[in-house]
Symmetry: C2
Subunit: 285 residues, 2 copies
């Protein structure tokens, strides 16, 4: 089989259910494009309630083919009944809850291999809150927010699903004051770009190359690749030393802004009137 282009990721900062305009969930539905949308509730303690909520919303916005993938114990993640449910799915949607439940129950299972195949063959994987964090290679699991990062207290990180490379995702970003924990994560290894997504805000990632912001809030991109100093190697005995890091680049993106993941550069798409004005002119690159 010829190698296909991977599809899209829709990484949501949480809180999108409360938006009456349904901006983000409509985008998720649009990716299904009449095909099957599977809601995965493995992260949550209340899979039935959460499924009912999303079923109602997705029906309301016109999704016809909806399925519920309910995995409560790891054994179920290998059951043919469960992974057959994914057959022909265009979109797989991970709800919020606990990101470790997603990776510990699904990691490397037959169900997960099917989800990955859907993505690799051009489908969409979407996730909100815990379902957003889980997209990274290495995911943030906990770590005190709302106070500055102390070096001795390691951030809890764990291997994620790895659908997006070289990025660490954090969600409910401004709402839960998570700057310092995301800074702690990128200071550990500036190879990772930090991406903090606000509630009711999402990034649509196109084939690992670029992303676009939709929704009401902001997306904070932290780039530590040019940083000139960090004291993370200097752990002290009483474990209470506060992190220092100099020269981190910060971009705040809002709806319509794009970010080139390869070049680590933000972009503003040209306005329609500018495009019209240059109509007929030869391209200048």
């Amino acid at each position: 089989m010829a190698k296909k282009k991977p599809g899209r990721l829709i990484i949501i900062g949480g809180g999108e259910k409360k938006d009456e305009e349904r901006t983000i969930l409509k985008e998720v539905a649009r990716q299904a494009n009449g095909g099957k949308l599977v809601v995965v509730t493995v992260a949550t303690e209340e899979p039935e309630e959460v499924w009912k909520e999303y079923r109602e919303i997705f029906k309301e916005i016109g999704v016809k083919k909806l399925e519920h993938l309910d995995v409560r114990i790891r054994e179920e993640a290998t059951s043919p009944k469960r992974y057959k449910l994914l057959e022909g799915a265009k979109v797989v949607f991970f709800t919020g809850g606990d990101q470790l439940k997603i990776t510990s129950q699904l990691g490397d299972s037959a169900v997960y291999q099917n989800i990955e195949r859907i993505y690799q063959e051009g489908g969409t994987v979407a996730g909100t809150s815990a379902g957003a964090s889980v997209m990274s290679e290495t995911m943030l699991v906990s770590g005190d927010a709302e106070q500055s990062h102390q070096i001795g207290k390691m951030l809890a990180m764990a291997p994620g699903l790895g659908l997006i490379q070289n990025v660490v995702v954090d969600q409910h970003f401004a709402e839960r004051g998570r700057l310092s924990r995301l800074l702690g994560a990128i200071a550990q290894n500036p190879r990772h770009l930090g991406m903090g997504i606000d509630e009711n805000t999402a990034v649509i990632v196109h084939g690992q190359e670029s992303l676009e912001v939709i929704g009401k809030g902001a997306v904070y991109v932290l780039d530590g690749s040019g940083s000139t100093y960090s004291n993370l190697g200097e752990r002290d005995e009483d474990m209470e030393k506060t992190m220092s890091v100099f020269d981190v680049k910060l971009h705040v993106l809002s709806e319509g802004n794009r970010f080139n993941l390869q070049e680590r550069r933000p972009e503003v798409p040209p306005k329609p009137e500018d495009v019209a004005a240059s109509h007929g002119a030869p391209p200048d690159n």
Copy 2:
């Protein structure tokens, strides 16, 4: 009279009273150096209670000459009795409360002129929480924290005491998730450096030139001077557009780190062992 060098500012992010080691308040006391320390409670609704708390702490750490400057209405700020109380003071300490109370009650009054003179002649002005914000030329008064800044909703800013130039101070920074409001402030005019100070953390500013961090938390310096894009000029009709700003420089400083305000560069002081190792070697600049 020959022009003297201005003294020091000690700008505290709040919460320093709760620190049992009294790291920051001991530094304030050290600046008094046996001289008079005046506690100004104009910001608070409970001047007596707040004065009693600080009186107890400052006595406990050895300050002998303590005075309470209590101004409840603007008329009192012009009373000779009140400004005589400042005579010979080495340190003036502003408590927390409401920064607008400080500027509206004291701004341009005889009391304030005396405080400014003390600073200009080498004394120390310290302030915590509202007393920290008030140090800036333009101070943050309110503005939603814990959500990303919407351009239409202007940040409430007001003229501060102007003891520090080209800097906007925010306090309780990580604790109250204030990244986006400080970003909003510097995006309005990148001439201002943003300085977000955590609780139980302070910067000691030496004559407008450099500062040093003390205390348990971090100081976040936001430098927008190299930013390449901001959408702050593009206010939209429904006033709900979220801020974008690209290429802001972020430095996270912790205890012992310094920052050169003229060059906008963070500095790590050399470690004692490195100083010892280079002892006797010629200076390399």
